[in-house]
């Protein structure tokens, strides 16, 4: 599952991530696409603080940064 947060400023991408975590099963991946540079630091920080796994960064089809998270709980 992928959240389109391309045009959202911080902290909205992280808020969307928190809102939609329960949309995926435990063990499955959730991705946030965000152009806001704060997401690069804040998605891994959110994972650390909330006990989720930060899988890594890749890019969406249009080249926008995409941050992938695995739901652990």
């Amino acid at each position: 599952m992928e959240l389109d947060c391309r045009d959202l400023l911080c902290p909205m991408p992280i808020i969307e991530l928190a809102r939609h975590l329960s949309d995926v099963e435990v063990g499955r991946l959730l991705a946030v696409v965000a152009r806001d540079v704060a997401a690069r630091t804040d998605v891994p920080a959110w994972c650390r603080m909330r006990g989720q796994e930060y899988v890594g960064e890749d890019t969406a089809d249009d080249g926008a940064p995409r941050y992938v998270v695995r739901r652990l709980s």
Binding site: C10, P11, A18, A38, D42, P44
Partner: protein
């Protein structure tokens, strides 16, 4: 502090942003006012008013040197801390052009260091990562500085945003033959100057002196070349007409702060411990920076799902002035490079810094409103 609101029934604002600028120390006010009438003339001239100004300036230099444990001829008064950083850093780089053009620095240096390096087109900056507490490792810094072509290493005495102290003396002892620039703006006066620098910088309004006074320290024998146009002033390392009264005010404040610091630091450090504990108890809030090996007067924490600017405004409405390293606004789109380098949450960030007379009642009042403010902002986004 005076009641800035000036209206009956409106609470006196509690100023918790001294890391941006400390209120003027009473000792600085007295010295500054006295010197304004005495120190107006050009200290280079030979007439009596000039000699009077020169005496005040030399006196200020002696006092500063004594407080910092340096030689008087190592002290230059500059127009600001930033100016001192620019002159100190670029002057060391200019003295080493034959060796190389690389500047090795911790990733959490003040932006004055980063911008100075970017401005010097021939200089290549090599940032060295920090740990999650914001501290650069001695081995990492020294290894990077041992590469060929490294002209200068730059390490701050303490971090201005999160308070973590840097191992400056250990780095200086282990560095190969590379001069060290130390930005001591965050700690000068509050803590002794670390040893081992070739040049260092400090800023008077961070310790309760007037704004517009910086200190450039250049170690006797260090290879330093003026990176800017020269000026025919008393001190060849500076430029422009010296602000003699402000220099004297800065020196008087420094003297008072150094004399009081054992007592003030202990009191502030205990209050900061209390703020750290209370902030950490707010759900989804992370207190950043070293809990013990830190500046006595400041703490930074970040709250998940909270817009840093909204948090600053909400606290301001309740009478508390704090700073934020967040970029959750349309005007500044990059978050704090310090928090970024530490891997700390960059949004919902607040820095609390105490003045010399901040009371326990004031920090308790702040801590009594903080959880509710965070809760309200989160409620607005449904979290």
């Amino acid at each position: 502090m005076t009641n800035a609101s000036g209206q009956p029934g409106v609470p006196v604002p509690v100023y918790l942003d001294t890391a941006s600028s400390e209120p003027l120390h009473p000792a600085a006010r007295a010295a500054l006012l006295a010197a304004i009438d005495q120190g107006y003339a050009d200290p280079r001239r030979l007439h009596r008013p000039a000699r009077s100004a020169r005496l005040l300036l030399d006196n200020a230099r002696e006092v500063v040197a004594d407080c910092l444990g340096v030689r008087a001829d190592e002290v230059t008064f500059t127009a600001s801390g930033t100016d001192a950083v620019h002159r100190g850093l670029l002057g060391l780089l200019a003295g080493r052009t034959r060796v190389g053009s690389k500047l090795v620095h911790s990733a959490v240096e003040h932006s004055a260091v980063l911008y100075a390096a970017a401005w010097a087109e021939t200089v290549r900056a090599v940032p060295v990562p920090v740990d999650p507490l914001g501290r650069v490792a001695v081995d990492d810094l020294v290894a990077a500085a041992s590469d060929p072509g490294v002209a200068v290493a730059a390490v701050q005495s303490a971090n201005h945003e999160v308070g973590t102290l840097q191992p400056v003396a250990e780095i200086a002892a282990a560095l190969p033959d590379v001069p060290l620039f130390v930005d001591a703006c965050a700690s000068a006066g509050r803590l002794p100057l670390p040893q081992g620098w070739a040049a260092a910088a400090a800023s008077a309004h961070k310790w309760g002196g007037p704004a517009g006074v910086g200190l450039l320290l250049v170690r006797k024998g260090a290879r330093w070349r003026n990176p800017f146009p020269r000026d025919d002033r008393i001190d060849e390392r500076g430029a422009g007409f010296e602000n003699v009264p402000a220099a004297l005010g800065a020196a008087a404040a420094l003297q008072a702060v150094v004399a009081e610091r054992d007592e003030v630091n202990a009191r502030q450090s205990a209050l900061i411990d209390a703020v750290r504990t209370a902030a950490a108890a707010i759900p989804d809030t992370e207190v950043v920076g070293d809990p013990t090996d830190r500046l006595p007067h400041l703490v930074t924490f970040s709250c998940l799902y909270v817009d840093g600017e909204a948090l600053v405004h909400a606290l301001d409405r309740r009478g508390f002035g704090v700073a934020s390293g967040s970029a959750c606004t349309a005007s500044t789109l990059t978050p704090s490079h310090v928090l970024e380098a530490m891997g700390a949450l960059t949004h919902g960030n607040v820095r609390v810094s105490l003045s010399r007379d901040t009371s326990a009642a004031e920090t308790e009042a702040f801590l009594s409103v903080l959880p509710g403010v965070v809760r309200e902002i989160r409620a607005e986004v449904g979290l």
